[in-house]
Symmetry: C2
Subunit: 112 residues, 2 copies
DNA sequence: TTGTCGTACTACGACAGATGAAGTATTTCA
DNA sequence: TGAAATACTTCATCTGTCGTAGTACGACAA
């Protein structure tokens, strides 16, 4: 069974997270579930990778956090939600461009 | 100008080098030139990255080294050539498979 | 009501690959 | 003769990932 090595995905965890936040704010657990679903279970992000990505990206200004409960009445567990910023959107766009270039480059060395 | 970040290419430097060694044994300087040529200058591998990849891959048994001069008479500078091993060929094949999977996964999060 | 499972995190340390900086030495060529 | 190209090596640093561990709350079943 072929598995994705962390060295490969390294540059794209942030991009994946941002692409999910592009639709609406979300939080750790939900994002990890979504990544799993979107990739049909082919990629499962590690908890520590995910939460350290949040810290890094918030510091870089790509996301903003806010704490909220499950519903508007304040019931349920409190969660830390993240919202993408304009800088985050720019970063995401750049990463998408970079991906096209990277793909071109890597594929020159790949045999199908 | 979009540039490839090291975090992205991280998992594929070894693969690129091996793909070049697949044709014939080669050495550092020549390989770095070839990578540049093949990618139309889009990717230039750093010297230290290249040589540390040699060390790592030789330790892993993916390549073997031998020292040789430029010509058979022993003229010219001595160079350390590297030859791909069977294990290296297997590793390369695995990486090619992994690439297809990685591409699928990443592209689910990319907007063109 | 007790225990287990799922949810929702945080802290910490270790590791590996990439890189910058610096240096060495030989060869080629103008 | 001297600069540029070739062909490396050493070393320290940085960053993102990941393993381990632990906390805490809520839901639900026995």
């Amino acid at each position: 069974m072929v598995e994705i090595s962390s060295d490969v995905i390294r540059g794209y965890n942030d991009t994946m997270i941002l692409s999910i936040l592009l639709k609406e704010p979300s939080y750790g657990y939900e994002i990890s579930k979504e990544i799993k679903t979107i990739t049909d279970g082919k990629y499962i992000i590690k908890e520590t990778t995910l939460y350290s990505a949040f810290t890094r990206m918030e510091k870089n200004g790509y996301i903003e956090s806010f704490v909220a409960s499950q519903d508007l009445e304040g019931n349920g567990k409190k969660r830390t939600y993240y919202r993408i910023t304009d800088a985050g959107r720019d970063f995401y766009k750049d990463k998408c461009e970079e991906w096209e270039l990277t793909k071109d480059v890597v594929e020159k060395f790949i045999t199908k």
